[in-house]
Symmetry: C2
Subunit: 338 residues, 2 copies
DNA sequence: TTGAAAGCGCTAACAG
DNA sequence: CTGTTAGCGCTTTCAA
């Protein structure tokens, strides 16, 4: 069958321990022995058996990334970044899609499938604050997103409040006073929608602009269709507004489309800003100003934290850490001023 | 540490063989013994050690999916479908990104990372027909895409020629005679661009419309920016056209944007059709008519083929198979007729 | 129908 | 500096 340590050892005229030492760069091996072993490895095309190594070491070399679905561009781009970051530290990434369903998210946390990986990077959507206790699992876990705070695990996410405030202030600084919101969630305090709304309110207050709930449109899902529907609803309300802050790019793009169809010019009549800095925001018509929430930093830090926890092997005293990535506003055509 | 077969066996008062039999639904186990074992498993919260199982069985339970990058919506949606299909047959999916780079694609084929998985679903972009021999690997491999045909492996892909022909005929049937192409590749015969161009030519010929190379724009990359650039180039050529066939949705969307900025109305002045049926095609302004190439069927069949090859354990006589998925045209606003 | 025991390929403790 | 050896937890002959 396949070439094993024994074959290499025999070919090099040493014991398997020596071969093992060479492979794991154990320092105390004579240079010529090492060379001989390397040659044998080369010659025989030896590749270590990862299952055996896993069985022995208790590590699989893989981490899981659980997210709602890859068809949502935000998560696809997040996965891209996580895979890249993981590759740099020599880890494989297994992706699990939850569909944003709370039940599936809970199941996933205790599934036998966890056994296949050394740890989990988890971006829940259905679970909420009340489910924090479910995150107290026996394996390394890093939490992403805004569904649960103060949980028992490391948490890596974005500065939602500050970023949303900055986005709103960006519009106000350009003379807009009636900034409509697309994507608010009824009564939500925590969660992306709740936090971004808070940032919006802070910006209004700082600028002395009164809050007008008539220009805040609620929509549970954040797909483009919902942005479009929300904008139709806003237009039907027949209240004045001169800017739109979509709580993500997809919503903003959907809303922008309806605005244009209705005869509004963007940015002349209405400025539009999004959130996420998806690739497509760069190519819309007009191109979309948006908030880059620091996705690659989030991926990088999440993988690093998880790796640390894995290496600490559960017996570290480092308490749960919270990391907030740096955001920045990416200015494009949809908020250009004349 | 963790609960093992031995623990379960002891708790149930049987040998580990019996427990193993129960777990693998080996038929010849007395009902009450089986019940006792199940109870013990439940009680102890036993979960099998996948590494040990892998070491013994030679299977990891994971398959790899290699693709250019998840940031490209087409591949993100493909990955989504593949993960779903794999989950249905109890397999994990490890994603590897190649960036579409030939060197990395070749490396990937013989990487030690292959050892982590039972097989590979491979969607190359940099490799070409001349590299077919590299696909002759010792593990189960299913090829996707149009870079290599008649290779030594199973191949699952779309009906590019027929679909492109149908798309062109769709435009012609709606009275368009000057169908511009965005995304052709200079001198390419095989590959998505080459095949789709062939379908286009077939449609023209069947309709008795002469080919005019002045309305065919070449662009190597298929991002939105390239569609935009291509359309600017086409407009600069100052030749007449009344329709655009973007060789993928992203190109079509980029081209459509430039068209609109230039003052053309879509679909009144120019109809636009794309290829891929990405989610976003549904929400553009106007919504984009496109070809649905049968992505979920491709994923489904790819996973099934690979699983069969894995189970056949290399010693089957089934020759390489080619499966072409069913396509269909999705009609939307960008080709509406007055 | 169930039990005993031999490895799968590797790592690491222990000797030498 | 290098060799011997005992498992990691599981599947699977071979016996009973």
């Amino acid at each position: 069958m396949s070439v094993t340590l024994h074959d290499v050892a025999r070919a090099a005229g040493v014991s398997i321990k020596t071969v093992s030492n060479v492979i794991n760069d154990y320092p105390h091996v004579r240079a010529d022995t090492r060379a001989r072993v390397h040659e044998a490895i080369e010659q025989l095309g030896y590749q270590p058996n990862l299952s055996a190594r896993s069985l022995r070491s208790g590590r699989t070399g893989a981490i899981a990334l659980a997210l709602p679905e890859l068809s949502l561009s935000y998560f696809a781009e997040l996965a891209d970044s996580v895979i890249e970051a993981a590759e740099r530290v020599g880890q494989f990434v297994i992706i699990e899609q939850t569909g944003g369903d709370r039940e599936r998210e809970l199941q996933l946390l205790s599934s036998w499938r966890r056994k296949m990986t050394d740890g989990l990077i988890f971006s829940p959507l259905g679970m909420g604050m009340d489910d924090a206790a479910h995150l107290d699992v026996a394996y390394p876990l890093v939490l992403l997103g805004e569904r649960i705070f103060d949980g028992p695990t490391d948490h890596v996410t974005m500065r939602n409040v500050e970023a949303a405030r900055a986005a709103t202030e960006f519009l106000i600084a350009r003379g807009r006073r009636r900034v409509a919101i697309v994507g608010a969630h009824e009564g939500e305090v925590i969660g992306s929608a709740g936090l971004r709304l808070r940032g919006y309110l802070e910006a209004l207050e700082a600028a002395g602009i009164p809050y007008d709930e008539r220009i805040v449109v609620h929509t549970t899902l954040w797909h483009r269709a919902n942005g479009a529907t929300a904008m139709r609803e806003l237009l039907a309300r027949d209240v004045e507004f001169d800017a739109v802050f979509g709580f993500n790019d997809t919503l903003a793009l959907g809303a922008m489309r309806v605005l244009q169809v209705a005869g509004y010019r963007v940015p002349e009549d209405v400025s539009v800003i999004g959130f996420d800095d998806l690739d497509e925001a760069m190519y819309s018509l007009p191109s979309l100003t948006t908030v880059n929430p620091g996705r690659s930093e989030i991926a990088e830090v999440a993988v690093r934290s998880l790796t640390e926890r894995i290496e600490a092997n559960g017996d570290t005293e480092v308490p749960p850490r919270l990391h907030l990535a740096q955001f920045r506003i990416v200015e494009r055509e949809s908020t250009a001023t004349a």
